[in-house]
Symmetry: C2
Subunit: 404 residues, 2 copies
């Protein structure tokens, strides 16, 4: 029997307990031993819930119990999660976490302690919920140099953009719908401003390039400026708008960015809709691969956490080597990335066409029925810097990067 402690009995924590109970027999077969939840740590009480037998409020009970071999941290946030996780590793316990903030910030340090102590620190559930992506990156794509990782990594924003596109509604209405369905929090900032996706692409980039990518360095733009009219333009040319979190290696430089982009149906992530996540990876020998599934949700996320627990159980005295050095990877200046852009211009009397041709060459003007005082166009490839300079000279309503 392998005893584990679960830190946090919220959505994911209770999901972990549930999955271990529903699929206990097959999990035991795969782990080679029974996984037993010995403690659950939470500040709250859960009257009537059988978990009460295992509930503790004092972390030291877990830390000082040598029978606990694996600590499952599903509290979220940096503190006290970091102190608890570091303490567990130093006390000789392996750790599984779903905590993207913790992993993005302290992943390198915690992995290095785990390695020193011949333990494991696994975090499959921190990116893409249930989708296997951390383990494939670490163990399946080891023959490749990763050239690009691009993901739809936030289910909330993907749901909002999908709803806006399907129903022609505006951002605020779609956000409210997402909140009503429990897909968006009351304070939706972390999702809609792209912060959540930013931490996740920081984790994936650190793993892909083996060095610390600080999430603070990643240019991040959310979806709050995307309007129903932008989406109408996109639809009029057979495109969709998605929030991409992306890192690309070009000539030994790594660029990383979170921003809305327009894509067409030749992109592998075009069909990733609603709350689903998708992660596209390009390797120099494997070519294009894509992983798709539920990026959040109680049971899918718990499935990834428990799979990590099984992996730790199979490697109790052997570190599963993950290359993520604490050496900082200096990201290249995003101003030098080249993109095509979709640009919307306010132009009441059609006076700007000469100016546009002067700035962007010959571009096809896109107009929408009923909108007389504006139009859009798609530029050829330009760096972010060049684009900013050019856009200063026009009455721009919005501009969105284009990937086709």
């Amino acid at each position: 029997m392998i005893n584990i402690a679960v830190l946090g009995y919220g959505t994911i924590g209770s999901g972990v307990v549930e999955v271990l109970s529903i699929n206990g027999d097959s999990i035991e077969k795969r782990a080679g031993d029974k996984i037993n939840v010995k403690y659950v740590l939470d500040k709250k009480e859960f009257p009537g819930d059988p978990i009460m037998e295992k509930l503790v409020h004092d972390y030291d009970i877990i830390l000082n119990d040598p029978e606990v071999k694996i600590v499952v941290e599903v509290m979220g946030g940096i503190e006290p999660a970091f102190t608890f996780v570091k303490g567990a590793l130093l006390a000789g316990k392996s750790v599984v976490t779903s905590n993207k903030e913790l992993v993005a910030k302290h992943g390198a340090e915690l992995l290095s302690i785990a390695k020193e102590k011949n333990l494991n620190f696994l975090f499959e559930a921190s990116v893409g919920g249930g989708i296997p992506i951390i383990r494939p990156l670490n163990q399946s794509l080891t023959a490749d140099e990763i050239e690009e990782i691009t993901g739809i990594l936030n289910g909330t924003t993907n749901y909002i953009l999908s709803k806006m596109s399907e129903e022609g509604i505006d951002f605020e209405t779609a956000l409210k719908d997402a909140q009503n369905k429990g897909y968006a929090e009351r304070n939706p900032e972390a999702d809609v401003e792209g912060y959540d996706a930013c931490r996740k692409i920081a984790i994936l980039s650190s793993l892909a390039y083996g060095m610390q990518v600080d999430f603070e360095d990643i240019y991040t733009e959310g979806i709050t400026k995307i309007t129903d009219i932008d989406i109408k333009y996109a639809k009029s040319i057979g495109a969709r708008i998605k929030l991409f979190a992306s890192s690309v290696k070009q000539e030994e430089k790594v660029y990383a960015m979170v921003a809305p982009v327009m894509i067409k149906n030749n992109h592998p992530l075009y069909s990733v809709n609603d709350v689903f996540n998708g992660i596209f990876v390009k390797g120099n020998v494997i070519g294009d691969v894509m992983f798709y599934g539920s990026g959040a949700g109680k049971l899918p996320t718990a499935s990834a956490v428990v799979a990590d627990v099984v992996d730790v159980a199979k490697h109790l005295n052997k570190n599963i080597w993950t290359i993520w050095s604490s050496k900082k990877l200096n990201l290249a200046d995003v101003n030098n990335i080249k993109h095509r852009f979709f640009v919307r211009i306010s132009d009441k009397d059609n006076q700007l066409s000469t100016k546009i041709r002067e700035l962007f060459g010959s571009v096809e003007l896109l107009s929408l029925e009923g909108l007389q005082e504006e139009y859009g166009f798609i530029t050829s490839e330009l760096t972010e810097r060049e684009m900013k300079e050019k856009l200063k000279q026009l009455p721009v309503i919005n501009s969105i990067r284009v990937r086709f």
Copy 2:
């Protein structure tokens, strides 16, 4: 330094040597040691190729060299591959293979020898080329009971069906195009009759359910009966025809089948076109996940082989436990599976509508411009057995299972 031997210097074998050379530095970092190709076994000579230095014609040289820790079998076919691989394991060498025939037929036995000897037998490249699917099934989906695996597992047939759909050409023309491009072999039987996909779904099913699924037991239908007219009908209702290899668990029974199906754009595999492969997995807690990438090709397949070599190098004295017992899983009778069906009927003078209503209830008749003497319709859900009985009573041109 870890010495390996490569058996077979064909497309994949030369790809393995190439990948180890292109990405040698990062592979060494991830494996924790340099991977050195000490021998390549092949019957042929390769004058002028630097591989000549390492070429041997006698397998015993490899078998008797204690320095060789890993044997990479990429010859294909059952013999002599099986004898070579079994010999290697018995001689204390781990084995990596891309050989689906070998794995489907002898996987359970070879895994059990590897386990006994504390070695590894890995075969990621045997299904889905470069796509990570074996390792995710073994190590990432361990918290789930697998309820369904459905894959587009054969790139050749997917290319043919995609071409037929895009260009409106018939099967023979599309096959010739695939042969000209090197996607189909001169004798295309193994691909177009579904035998290749059948072996691959046998492997995935054995892993998902932990027991031996014999490929001979899987109902297998290829794409040779799919015509350009079937595809026109599919397009007229927004559907595509794909060759699905599928196994589904219902009430403790496993059904497996390879057959063309019609799907619409709400299916995760709808966008898997051309030579790409996609594998959809449904777990009881993770929900739906999907893996997508190049299902064949020299470098993608070699990428998966080399990633397995890296994994073996990291587990030289530790068996990576794979649950696939030699106990036979008795597949359920496919005649009891329920499907909807698309049916094409020859009916010159529209005399059969009463008969059709009698057999299938009220169905909408689908007709194509220019085809006066036939029409199609889609049935409600019926078992395969019921369907066969009913179709006997009509002049059926073709019938295709429907998944929407």
